[in-house]
Amino acid sequence: MEKMSDENTEEVKVLESEIERLQAEVESLQHQQQEINKDITFHYSQQMENALVFMCGQRQEGGKEMVMSRLKEELEELEEDVKLQTEINGITLNSCTTKTLQNSGRKLVQQLSLSGNCSELVFQVEFQLSEIKDSERSKRTIGDLNVVLDSSDLQNFSSFLSRVEESRDLLLFFRTLRTFSDRCDDRSRTFQQFQDKYPSVIALPGGPRSEVMTLNHPKLPGCMLFIHWSVDVSREGVVTPKISLLTKIPERALQLFPSQAVGGAAEAFESLLRILGPEAALESIIQAVSLSQET
């Protein structure tokens, strides 16, 4: 009797110490899980929860096929949503990586790294995002903005870029990028249209994205007109297209034809621009040069 009692006490002691050990293990695993959860800033959707539970080895109704097909459906919805946002925002984002630096109930600080493009302009943007939750509202601020633009059209953009990194105006950067991109697209579309329509007269020496279009009649090889269409961006983000006409006419020709039309072409073009607008003004110059009868 006594002996059995002793054995029992022994067993109890062993079990109790095992329980203590297991509790300590569970606590440390829970702590580890809490740390991981801090990095996850979105609530998982129901489908993600189901998938997680499945991956942890728990059987569910419908089994794996159900979990996978439902998740696939949700993925399709998300892909549609991304397409929709891409279209209305005029910005394509290829990747977004987030690193959580701090996540305590009230304050969330993250480091984000985005890459994408706006039409032909490719960018990489990194910034720090802080969100502080008050009782009624949350305050969001940007820290440490860093922008890299991968493009050849860049001299006009650099003073704006350094100003925007200084002021950390993330939204201004993207608004301005989009407007700048739209104006550059206007230019290249117009240049391309004219080159297609008047191939013998128009050349784009720098390619379709460049700032320069040349006009030159094949029968007058020494005489060239240059259309210089720049898109300037001010330090505060105002985008201004500027179109001007430059002539390259040999001295001899100017001497033979001292008419205002040739010598004063640049000023004349400015007036034409004001009256007709860029496309019509350019077309009338082109028609003049190509000696075309078309209207």
Binding site: L22, L71, L84, Q85
Partner: protein, 288 residues
């Protein structure tokens, strides 16, 4: 002779008692052991579950990092033999990627468009910010069919919504219209924020006049020492900008606005946001 059997009975009784007590103890100990064994099993299960969850999260993170790198390097996806579980994990990682992309679209000032009524309508949000601080968000409900029309909104009345809609061909290009509206709203939010900062950080400067659109600002400066008053009018006639288009100075001292120092201040006020310009002007000793 009666003693002996009584002793026998008593000792028998006490033996039975001891037996009964020890059986009770035994049962108690036995059920305690069962209890403890059950607890051990429960804790073991909990531990295994936690381990599985942590492992899944770690695998998910690792896969996500690899997929991000694949996107960046534009590598071909390595779709060799994958287990069912790793297929599911890949779907989960893609889920987190897409959520992050949507969040990023929102953060960079995207319009967060939501289609409603089976594509016949849409809701958009226009976020505003000035420098590093996010400010108010404005919302529009738009009918898309039969024509594009704004049905509800919370845009302040001094923003010419209908004019902007007409001038920007809202019918044909919704994005361009929204971009222009966003420019107006952000410039307004920026001017408003500058006024707030002037009031907060520059108590020595009196705000004499301002309007709801924050397109007009009249400030009263005091020149240190002489205590001369200078009235400064800032006109923001371009409502898409946060900087004034005209700065006008008036003072009892007629010479003052033409002095080189104040000509410089005028230029400063044209090129720098007002709350920052005032800091410089104070440092230079132009104003108190």
């Amino acid at each position: 002779m009666e003693g002996a059997p009584a002793k026998g009975v008593l000792s028998h009784l006490s033996l039975l008692e001891v037996k009964a007590r020890s059986r009770k103890t035994q049962l108690q100990q036995h059920s305690r052991v069962m209890e403890l064994k059950a607890k051990v099993e429960a804790l073991k299960t909990q531990r295994e579950q936690l381990k599985a969850q942590i492992q899944t999260h770690q695998d998910l993170q690792k896969l996500r990092l690899a997929m991000d790198k694949q996107c960046a390097d534009e590598e071909e996806e390595n779709m060799e033999e994958e287990s069912e579980n790793s297929k599911l994990l890949r779907l989960m990682a893609r889920h987190t990627q897409l959520k992050d992309l949507l969040h990023a679209h929102h953060l960079i000032g995207g319009y967060d468009i939501i289609k409603t009524r089976k594509g016949k309508g849409a809701c958009v949000s226009i976020a505003t910010a000035y420098e590093d601080v996010f400010l108010d968000t404005f919302n529009l409900e738009i009918d898309l069919k039969p024509t594009v029309k704004i049905s509800r909104h919370n845009i302040p009345p001094f923003i010419p919504l209908n004019n902007l809609a007409e001038q920007n061909n809202m019918q044909t290009d919704l994005r361009v219209f929204l971009d222009t509206l966003s420019k107006h709203l952000n410039a307004f939010a920026g001017r408003k924020q500058q006024l707030k900062l002037v009031k907060e950080k520059h108590k020595s400067v009196e705000v004499m006049e301002s309007n709801v659109l924050c397109s007009l600002l009249v400030l009263l400066f005091t020149v240190p020492r002489e205590k001369t008053a200078v009235l400064c009018t800032l006109d923001y006639t371009d409502h898409t900008r946060c900087l004034p288009t005209r700065v006008h100075l008036e003072s009892e001292d007629k010479q003052l606005p033409d002095s080189p120092q104040w000509k410089k201040n005028c230029t400063l006020l044209m090129e720098t946001p007002v709350h920052k310009a005032l800091i410089t002007m104070k440092k230079m000793g132009s104003i108190a």
